[in-house]
């Protein structure tokens, strides 16, 4: 059973095909040349002889001539009756031949068959004419003196055979031409077969490569391929398909994990915010009471802390989501300035309320960066939030674009005139908000440089080179 499988596998394998082709190449010499000879004989014997059965009887003219002279010699002392008898016997043996003989008195004797055009009496002139006509023509004619000697004066005997019965001495093609053509054809065939063999392997490999480098647009995972044949490349395709399936499974698991984490964090956010909302509700109840100034201050302080805490929760959860490495940023070409304007427009009423003057001067042309719009908004929200929270005293926020001198790269500048980050961060923990900004900008391929001094903070965003 196992052996069967192994056998079948070998029969189906490329190795076996390759070995077959190599084997044919090895057998080229001992088989092709004998095959060429056989072909040569087949052409000469088989196709150009009309009646192969007569071939043996009439091998060629020389043999017939010898035979006829032999017969004439054996009749040297025979009386005319015996000559007639022998010719009749010969006619029995060679029915295709015509024969006659002429005696010592120049009279035409037995004719087999009867031929009217022959003279009854052979004058020297008639003899010369006959010989002239018979020479090198059809039928093939042999004349022999009886007793095979002219001096005996016993007359002569003649045989005629149509040349068609005699194997032609001329052959169709010479040996070397047939050999060359045949060997040439066989070599060509061999080259063609091995080329086809290779070309098909190549085609299948290229198909596999194409499948590998053209991934599915949604998942980014290459598509699986159709199995072609159960040979080595087929096994490769099978292995490749298995790998793609595993990748897909891994990706699905990753997406599930991401989804799970997201919902976990959303729930966590919900659970943390609900008590905060309740606290705020109860705090609101104090407004109805008549409180001392100190009490009112406390309520206001608690209100601010609730807001701070809620933002902290936001950033903390974003941070943990991002550091988990399970969040995929969908980077697309976006007009950054458009996002900045929309975000600033949403913040504008808050700045107004806080007495922050907004100085916004952005270039007219769109600024296209490869970013994830949602996360970029988050970056802006955090930066704007920081200005409101920690740089309110500066009463200023500047949002500008600036073109760098050396490479004409456009950067986005967000400035304030607050007391600077070093003081703010130590006391109020802006750390996590900025950490989220830094992580997000890095993920989106942006550079975020923060320069902070006593007289203000400048955040500069550029594409990293």
């Amino acid at each position: 059973m196992k052996r069967n499988v192994a056998n079948r596998r070998f029969r189906n394998s490329l190795t076996s095909k390759y070995l077959l082709i190599i084997g044919i190449a090895m057998l080229f010499m001992p088989i092709i040349f004998p095959m060429a000879s056989i072909l040569y004989w087949f052409i000469n014997d088989g196709i150009w002889q009309p009646s192969p059965s007569l071939n043996d009887k009439y091998p060629n003219g020389t043999v017939l001539e010898q035979m006829w002279h032999q017969e004439a010699k054996s009749l040297a002392s025979a009386p005319p009756e015996q000559v007639d008898k022998r010719l009749q016997a010969l006619k029995q043996e060679y029915p295709e031949m015509a024969m006659f003989w002429v005696d010592d008195t120049d009279q035409t004797r037995l004719m087999l068959p009867e031929q009217g055009k022959l003279p009854k009496k052979w004058t020297p002139a008639a003899s010369i004419q006959f010989m002239k006509a018979a020479y090198n023509s059809d039928p093939f004619t042999v004349v022999a003196y009886i007793g095979d000697d002219e001096k005996l004066g016993k007359g002569f005997m003649v045989m005629e055979l149509p040349r068609a019965y005699i194997r032609p001495k001329q052959i169709l093609a010479s040996d070397t031409t047939v050999y060359t053509v045949f060997v040439f054809i066989m070599s060509g065939l061999f080259i063609l077969i091995s080329w086809l063999f290779f070309a098909r392997i190549r085609k299948r490999l290229i198909r596999l490569k194409e499948a590998m480098i053209s991934p599915d647009l949604d998942s980014g995972i290459p598509r699986s391929v159709m199995m072609t044949k159960p040979d080595e490349i087929g096994q490769l395709e099978q292995g490749y398909n298995d790998m793609v399936a595993q990748l897909e499974q891994g990706r699905r698991r990753q997406l599930e994990e991401e989804e799970l984490r997201k919902s976990l964090i959303a729930n966590l956010s919900h659970d943390l915010r609900t008590p905060l909302t309740v606290i705020r509700g109860h705090l609101h109840a104090f407004d109805a009471e008549s409180l001392s100034q100190q009490g009112k201050d406390s309520v206001a302080r608690i209100e601010t802390k609730i807001t701070d805490l809620s933002e902290l929760i936001d950033n903390l959860l974003s941070y943990s989501l991002l550091t988990s490495g399970r969040v995929e940023l969908k980077r697309e070409a976006c007009d950054v300035l458009r996002l900045v304007k929309e975000s600033a427009a949403a913040w504008y009423p808050i700045w107004e309320k806080e007495g922050i003057e907004a100085d916004i001067d952005l270039q007219n042309e769109p600024l296209i960066w490869q970013i994830d719009a949602l996360w970029f908004r988050r970056v802006l929200d955090n930066l704007f939030q920081n200005v409101v929270r920690h740089a309110r005293s500066g009463c200023y926020i500047g949002i500008h674009t600036e073109t760098r001198e050396h490479d004409h790269e456009v950067c986005l500048l967000i400035t304030d005139r607050g007391p600077g980050l070093s003081r703010a961060s130590s006391s109020k923990g802006t750390g996590i908000g900025l950490a989220v900004v830094e992580m997000l900008t890095k993920e989106m391929g942006l550079n975020c440089t923060i320069v902070s001094s006593e007289s203000g903070t400048a955040v500069k965003l550029t594409r990293s080179s």
Binding site: R273, V278, K341
Partner: protein, 224 residues
């Protein structure tokens, strides 16, 4: 006239104080703990306030169903989910989105804006400074002089768009794309020209506009 509000919130404590607070503000409140009865109850309401995380149907689904059944009903999402995609998902159908822990006064202010906006549609007249705007009839009257102000189609659309988002700064891109329905590439000049003509018609003094305010570098706003 006290407006009737539909409020869906599963959290007992929050539900209690928000209902109490809104009643204090003079609204009638129907507080449900889940979304099953939302459609029936909403029929008599002028505004719906929805929590996102509800047992059973979540707030987004309930909100979408409400919007489908009553397209005119303003919906305010009130949620503890703060991620931006939640917010965007909510704003696809909701008119406003407020995150917990919210300040009660902010909630009251937003409810008021939403109600006023939907009431003008019902009353068909909106007063702003010296203007009375009849939105349905595409008509604006200066009620000081009793003169009717004639606006071109585009001018009226721009004004209407800003009125719909009263109190919010709208970027030039947002205005242009909403009114012209094309992507804003160099619509800048076109929009500026239209705003100038619009101001000449509606402002008392076009040189120092009171109604349409320019927010430098960003866009325009009609103050609430």
């Amino acid at each position: 006239m006290s407006a009737k509000l539909l409020y869906i919130e599963d959290e007992q404590e929050i539900g209690e104080w928000v209902s109490a607070f809104l009643k204090e503000k003079g609204y009638e409140v129907d507080w449900l703990k889940h979304g099953d009865q939302a459609i029936q109850t909403a029929e008599a309401s002028q505004l719906a306030i929805l929590d996102v995380m509800l047992p059973g149907l979540d707030g987004f689904t309930v909100g979408q169903r409400l919007k489908k059944a009553y397209p005119e009903l303003p919906i305010l999402m009130l949620s503890a989910r703060t991620s931006i995609d939640d917010k965007l998902q909510g704003l696809e159908f909701a008119d406003d989105y407020l995150t917990k822990p919210f300040h009660p006064e902010e909630l009251a202010a937003r409810i008021e804006v939403l109600l006023r906006r939907s009431c003008t549609a019902a009353q068909e007249v909106l007063s702003i400074k010296h203007l009375s705007v009849y939105e349905q009839e595409n008509r604006i009257v200066n009620h000081e002089t009793e003169e009717e102000i004639m606006l071109t189609g585009k001018q009226f659309q721009i004004f209407k768009y800003l009125l719909q988002h009263q109190g919010r700064v709208m970027t030039k891109e947002q205005i242009y794309e909403s009114v012209w329905g094309e992507t804003y590439l160099d619509g800048d000049k076109t929009l500026m020209v239209h705003i100038r003509y619009l101001r000449e018609k509606i402002e008392r003094d076009p040189a120092s506009p009171e109604i349409i305010e320019t927010v430098r570098g960003l866009g325009y706003r009609v103050k609430a």
